[in-house]
Amino acid sequence: MTLGFSLTKETIWLLEGIGGLLVVASIAGFILGKRAATDAARATVANLNARIRAWWLMVAVFAVAVAMGAIGATVLFALLSFLALREFVTLTPTRRGDHMALFWIFFIVVPFQYLLVAIQWYGLFAVFVPVWVFLFLPARIAVSGDAERFLERAAKIQFALMICVYCVSHVPALLMLELKGYANNAGLLLFLVVVVQMSDVLQYVWGKLLGKRKVAPTISPNKTWEGLIGGVLSATALGSGLFWITPFTPLQAAGMSLVITTLGFAGGLTMSAIKRDSGVKDFGALIEGHGGVLDRIDSLCFAGPVFFHLTRYYFA
């Protein structure tokens, strides 16, 4: 595919569908707000409504970026990577000796990884962070001459980079795939983001409605088996219903949805463990009701690369 594309009618349908869903959610939030009787209920509904308002903004930004074509989407995800990396490294106990290495990853590695996405150089895109930067980073830290907690510092910065930059960059990289009999790659990107994010929303809704048995209470008290199963199954159903925007058959779309929603859950749980270990509830406070950027895209970090490679192996 070439850089820059116009939205197909399928993509516009899906965006309209999301807009309609947000209208319904906003009305439901308004009615719940009127009916909340206790302080606890009011707090929950206030948080719900803050989340819904933030969703309007996030969907608007995302829709504008996607409508601007491959460059728009690539720049958006580059910014998300940058902000997520900033949140992650802020919580990482780095030392003065890491300063120049951090300068490199924020101002050289992030732009370069997304430049590779933009110019569609798959060969280097796939190995730049896990090979080149993997070796460069600890060497650069060593040059600064501070050996205290050396491996821990190097490993944590590597991990931040893999999650926030390498993994996230696979989402706009979907636009570089050349698929058999399918050219609406923006639709494929939209499918991934919509199914993963709706899975988060549906897990939250099922958890609030039926949640009892906790999956990992020491890591995240909010994640329940009821929420997980209800969310994954309903998001899988939604994903198979969206097959028309993808190169998949309905059954393949269901399989893909099951994989990415399960991975999304794994991503959320993993990032919760990191937050718990760091003693914080959220990575940041940029998005009202949701926390930071990384709190919003944690599931996408895990789902993105696997979805990219499954699609690339079986449909390219």
Binding site: R86, M100, L102, F103
Partner: protein, 202 residues
């Protein structure tokens, strides 16, 4: 006017770069005059604190800084005088026509608020150094002005002492409850208490 415009642009850029979360822990922004006193570990400290203030407060809040550093070049002098309207004080203690305390009191008399770093110099961000006595003398001459403790965190990681390029991490600024010099409070007790008020916010 160009100084004022540049000031707005720098404040915006500082907010973007340092992404400071501002927390009010016992302090409510209000009209009036005050002295913000903060810990010091980075050149960015005052810019980030200053850019986090509401713009109406910002235009009448002046940082107190060492003239030995800010008068070194024409550009620094322009920044300090025209953009930040800094109260430049002689902290070397030699050849002193007027003391830093006089300069600070004069600025307060003119109705401005001040940002001061009572440690006197930048630390490495791990501990707060003992306070210099200037703040005590200012507080004795202007006992009706509130002193607001401001804990600045993470800026020493964004731009540590000795580095020239910043790393865009998130910082936080915590403003604590205002305090004043107690009647009969000695210099040692006052300086130790002030430092304690600041430490408590960390």
């Amino acid at each position: 006017m160009s100084g004022r415009l540049l000031a707005g642009a720098i404040a915006g850029f500082a907010r973007l770069l340092a992404g400071a979360t501002v927390r009010y822990a016992g302090y409510k922004p209000a009209e009036g005059q005050r002295i913000y006193f903060a810990n010091h570990s980075s050149h960015l400290d005052f810019v980030v604190l200053w850019s986090a203030l509401p713009s109406a407060e910002r235009v009448k809040t002046r940082p107190v800084a060492g003239s030995d550093y800010w008068e070194k070049s024409a550009f620094k002098r322009f920044l300090a005088r025209e953009v930040f309207r800094a109260v430049l004080v002689d902290r070397t203690g030699t050849n002193r026509e007027r003391s830093p305390v006089d300069d600070m009191v004069a600025a307060l008399d003119a109705g401005d608020s001040l940002i001061i770093f009572p440690e006197g110099t930048r630390g490495d961000g791990t501990a707060i150094a003992p306070f210099k006595s200037g703040v005590f003398h200012v507080a004795s001459k202007k006992p009706d002005v509130d002193l607001v403790p401001v804990m600045i965190e993470n800026l020493n990681r964004i731009l540590p002492k000795g580095e020239v390029v910043p790393v865009p991490l998130l910082s936080s600024i915590t403003l604590g409850p205002p305090t004043r010099l107690g009647s009969g409070e000695t210099k040692e007790l006052f300086l130790a208490r002030l430092r304690g008020e600041l430490e408590r916010l960390g």
